[in-house]
Symmetry: C2
Subunit: 191 residues, 2 copies
């Protein structure tokens, strides 16, 4: 049974994760998190005594795990790793261009904002990228890629997704991201 303290903590954290993911670190205020979550004001510092930094650090992990879970879900359906990666890109594209709450299917914004400002947050974003790479790496290995090729490809796939998402969202052109799915496929098939 979940007690109310745990519930309140989860509520604050999930609200923070949505706001940080969509607006970034600097544009998200603690008052906004309190207001949106509906939690009593005193609760935030009770549950997150180090305030915004701690909340952001945990929120980045939540966002990372959420995206990882979506990736793993698609990867379970498609046996072929290249098809699986392409399908993940297609589903992400659909999601970020149709669902307002998914417009940031990435931690690039949080990473770029915090990398020179806060070592803990940079480290957390770095771990999220590495965790995503690991999922791609395992999928490629299970599909017959050598460990060396899989390592190098997995890093490239995550970097390409992040970059293509940034450009695609900036231009408001889902096509850019979709055409990247073809590119990723072509690149991986040639390994």
């Amino acid at each position: 049974m979940i007690n109310s303290k745990t519930e309140t903590r989860g509520l604050i954290l999930n609200t923070a994760a949505v706001l940080f993911r969509n607006k970034g670190y600097h544009a998200t205020g603690l008052n906004e998190i309190i207001r949106e979550s509906g939690a009593p004001k005193g609760c935030l510092y009770y549950h997150f005594p180090q305030g915004k930094e701690q909340l952001a650090q945990e929120a980045i992990k939540v966002v990372g795990l959420e995206i990882q879970a979506k990736m793993e879900k698609v990867f379970q359906v498609y046996e072929d790793p290249v098809e699986a990666i392409q399908e993940f890109i297609r589903q992400s594209t659909e999601s970020i261009f149709t669902r307002a709450e998914d417009r940031r299917f990435s931690v690039s914004l949080l990473a770029l904002e915090t990398m020179n400002m806060n070592e803990n947050l940079r480290q957390t974003c770095s771990e999220v990228f590495s965790d995503w790479e690991e999922v791609v790496y395992n999928k490629l290995c299970s599909g017959g890629f050598s460990t060396e090729t899989a390592r190098s490809c997995s890093e490239m796939v995550i970097a390409m997704i992040e970059g293509a998402m940034t450009l695609s969202l900036t231009k408001r052109q889902p096509e850019a991201l979709l055409s990247f799915a073809d590119w990723a496929g072509r690149l991986l098939r040639q390994q």
Copy 2:
């Protein structure tokens, strides 16, 4: 002859460009721009009556042109487009990992921060990405790529650079960006 009004305007704008590029839109304050530029406070609103938005919009263009100039400079030296692109990535990597003022060799942060908040700024970032793509496109065409392939490749090259730069900087690993130069080469050679 440059008059002092023009000089002051340029001073404010260049200071703003460095700050916006390195810290992003939200973390850069107008007071900081004034302080760093050394310009009298009243000057900012005299030269940029729409304040932070106008200053950011012009600063994004300055950053875009600056990076474009570096790209064009490298592209003039290397005749082969693939070599030219790889060399640009190598030089950018060296620059962002050794020169503190070049740590943001990109407008991804500004694009991701502003895309859902300010249509003018999103549009400006989008134009910067398109201008960079155009430089790559022209180089690829001059190197014998078909216009269709060059169009699609140029978008992918800029997306890959942005993504690889974000991951590489977040992880503090120049290797990730350098290994991307190989990937980009492999991908383009196969077209």
